[in-house]
């Protein structure tokens, strides 16, 4: 049994919110550098220079990489041997978001769906908790911007349609999104599960490190096949026309009902931000 105080969780979340919004991971910076090398359009290559400069300024000045500091999304792995004292786990995370967004000069982007009244502190966060074995608490934070989230889609395909239809749906989602989700994007694809689980898988797929290879060789090949089709669309960085539209396609697969073939596509912008901490 391990005891973790809720204040420690709040502080960790606060710091994660700030760090993830100021600093791109090395995998993302590498992917952007690699994309510039493959890009044929001079205008898009200039975009990569600006994005690299942006990352340097954001880190140096502790200013958000993007003004859309996102909906605060958390994936929490809660060890069954962990006991949280001093307050609830969810409250501790929400408090961390409140503090991180206020102290970090990050934008509050959450509002009432109809009145559009801003909640003022970027809460509520969206929190997914998974119980795991052991006595660690792992918190992954992924600020998710609205521009790319708005271009995400889900479909309940027919099982007979199989892989070609999944590929078409993913490529078509990127085509329809055009410049809106701030390409070069990262494409999270959830295949299987059911209606809501497919969407969650797609979001989870975005968490995988850029440059990593899918553990299943067949899915690794499918990811590469879809990425190639996407990069043939010609959209390019910022939609300015070019040969790199997405940096990666990440698939998460899950068994599904015999009647179904759910597929969800969650797009993320080039400001592919996350952070994680283990307590």
């Amino acid at each position: 049994m391990k005891t973790i105080h809720s204040c420690a969780i709040t502080t960790a979340v606060k710091n994660l919110c700030m760090q993830a919004n100021y600093e791109l991971g090395p995998d993302v910076l590498d992917a952007l550098t690699g994309a510039k090398k493959c890009e044929e359009s001079p205008l898009c290559r200039e975009v990569y220079d600006i994005l690299t400069e942006n990352a340097v300024i954001a880190k140096r000045e502790s200013i958000a990489l993007c003004q859309d500091t996102g909906c605060a999304v958390f994936f929490v792995e809660l060890g069954q041997g962990v006991h949280v004292e001093g307050g609830g786990l969810l409250d501790a995370i929400h408090d961390g978001v409140r503090q991180g967004y206020a102290e970090g000069y990050l934008r509050s982007s959450m509002c009432h769906p109809f009145t559009r009244k801003n909640t003022g502190d970027n809460t509520p966060a969206i929190i997914h908790i998974e119980p795991v074995q052991g006595d660690i608490l792992k918190i992954i934070f992924a600020p998710k911007g609205g521009g790319s989230e708005n271009m995400s889609r889900i479909a309940m395909l027919k099982p007979s349609q199989g892989r070609p239809a999944v590929k078409d749906f993913v490529v078509d989602t990127v085509r329809q999104a055009g410049a809106n989700p701030c390409p070069p994007t990262v494409v999270g694809v959830g295949i299987g599960g059911n209606f809501e689980h497919a969407a969650l898988l797609a979001k989870k797929a975005l968490l995988r490190k850029l440059g990593s290879v899918h553990a299943d060789p067949e899915m690794a090949a499918f990811e590469a096949e879809i990425l190639q089709a996407i990069n043939s669309l010609g959209i390019g960085a910022q939609g300015f026309g070019g040969t790199v539209t997405s940096l990666a396609v990440h698939i998460e697969l899950h068994p599904c009902h015999i009647a179904s073939l759910p597929v969800a596509v969650n797009l993320n912008c080039h400001a592919h931000r996350h952070g994680e901490i283990i307590l």
């Binding site: 200013i63 000069y105 708005n150 089709a229 300015f240 026309g241």
Partner: protein
């Protein structure tokens, strides 16, 4: 090549020379507005009431910045998706608006209105908010302070970089450039 610098209020001659794909810079005052601010501006027009600022020859930037750190004029301030303003934009062009800065494809109605009212659509680099903040020297709230990041602000900018997406000659960079690089 000498960089092209636009300073509002935009003159007809300056707008006429702009072509899709041009990299140009803005130096001067521009106004920020996004979803709710646009809705309120249109409601004023519907009620035949005056707008909080004169739109003649002006540029509207679709942005909702992060809060400014003490001593800084603004926080991170890259463009938001323009299509959400498509329903409102033609009415503002009718009032003299000459350029919009944002990101992403515009509707055919907006593109038609740009031709009719001789206005242009410019893209700032989405997700480069920290870099773009360096070009903003001063900000002032003009209206709707209650909207927080969505309030209308006057940004005094210097060498603010944009790319021409739609010109007054009917060109559309998103459509044309994508076609030229498409391989399927």
């Amino acid at each position: 090549m000498k960089p092209v610098i636009l300073t509002p209020p935009l003159a007809e001659a300056a707008i006429e020379t702009l072509k899709i794909g041009d990299r140009v810079f803005i130096t001067g005052d521009i106004f920020t507005a996004r979803d709710t601010a646009h809705k309120r501006l249109i409601e004023l027009l519907d009620r035949k009431e005056p707008l909080p600022f004169d739109l003649s020859g002006q540029i509207i930037y679709y942005v909702g910045p992060t809060p400014a750190r003490p001593g800084k004029p603004v926080g991170s301030c890259g463009p938001t998706t323009s299509s959400r303003m498509d329903g409102y934009a033609p009415r503002l062009m009718e009032q003299g608006l000459k350029a919009m800065i944002g990101k992403g494809q515009r509707s055919s109605e907006v593109i038609e209105a740009m031709k009719k009212y001789r206005a242009v659509y410019l893209a700032a680099i989405g997700g480069a908010g920290a870099m773009l903040a360096q070009c903003v020297k001063e900000t002032k709230i003009v209206a709707y302070e209650d909207l927080g990041p969505e309030a209308i602000r006057k940004f005094t900018v210097e060498m603010f970089p944009v790319v021409v997406i739609n010109d007054i000659h009917g060109g559309d960079l998103y459509r044309q450039a994508v076609q030229s690089y498409a391989r399927i």
